[in-house]
Symmetry: C2
Subunit: 207 residues, 2 copies
Amino acid sequence: MREGIPDEEDGRVPPSRGKRRVRADAQRNIDMLLHTARTVFAASGVNATVREIAEKAGVGIGTVYRHFPNRSALVAAVFRHEVDACADAASVLAATHPPDEALATWMQRYVDFIVAKRGLAAALHAGDPAFDALPAYFEKRLRPAMQALLETAAAAGKVRGDVDPYDLLRAVASLCTPDRDGGAAQARRMVALMVDGLRYGATRDGC
Amino acid sequence: MREGIPDEEDGRVPPSRGKRRVRADAQRNIDMLLHTARTVFAASGVNATVREIAEKAGVGIGTVYRHFPNRSALVAAVFRHEVDACADAASVLAATHPPDEALATWMQRYVDFIVAKRGLAAALHAGDPAFDALPAYFEKRLRPAMQALLETAAAAGKVRGDVDPYDLLRAVASLCTPDRDGGAAQARRMVALMVDGLRYGATRDGC
DNA sequence: TTGTATACGGAACGTCGTTCCGTTTATCAA
DNA sequence: TTGATAAACGGAACGACGTTCCGTATACAA
């Protein structure tokens, strides 16, 4: 066996653990599908056709369904993929920038993620069981990322320490869906303002 | 060029204004379709099939498409229908109850509306052009209703006068979509609390 | 009652998500 | 290197959907 492995909880078909490894061409197609799907979803929205994705990935339809049980699973996998990318960006930034700068930069990165996923956010609340686990995954990956950045910045005295990481994530997400057509620019400004607000309280101690 | 007339802005096919009136059987079918669609949407969600609705309404598919250009238009028409019903309830309550009681009762009526429309709310943000006009219609009908109730109650000294009607409508709508599974009961309690909050400030004057 | 614009019903079309299966290929043991 | 075989591939085919089309039925004005 490869590992203890608590259920993949991934949308992908488990690789029938045991004998052979995953074939190289299969892995190549999975990566290609995820990459293509991400591009197509970004360009044409989450309602893009399975056929379109398969074609642009240079792959037959059957291949898509070999790796993903259904369309929703592909959407969910892309979502997880981007959550991972966003979460990973946090540690990279933390290692290469001063604490408050890392925080501010990552917040903008997070805004990009939220704005790009607006179409999917609508689908999330539509009751497809394939999406049930996504909010939990969102919290699981993104909360620690934000928490680490906040704590580091707070320890350096650059930011107040009384802010709950997940509250902040949700607040920013709300700011990014203004119902009005303020667009991404407005959202970015509001979030920048929020980060300044975090910095402001740092010099004091109490409330 | 058939007419001057500022577009129906209704989802329905305009009755080719001019010669004849709408045929009686046609009107009967339209009413039946709206009623059936409302029931089916409530029971099976907004993704219910056109065929199912047609069948339960005792009507052919062609008849549905004679009166509604597409599925989305039927959904939009049902939505408008229920917005109207909710708005009309306000004036009825205002005429039959004391001001603050009318307000409190209508708020609960509004909660019922919002909760029932949760599934549709997701579809609203999915970019279907048939739904573009719905938020405006929502505001156009519901804001005056709420405003009238608020002003009457405020004039009677039962409620504070510094609350924007539309802000309140939106706030209640937010309370009714808790992401968690608090359900309708929790939403009702929160809104009741909110109404009590309105009443509380009435005895004072300033902030 | 009759003429006709209007409305009706449902077969048929194109597209979608998904399944199925004959064919191709990567991998491993010999 | 070669052969055996599990794995992956491609795309035709299926059922369900939204929508269109058109021959038939019917309400209404005369």
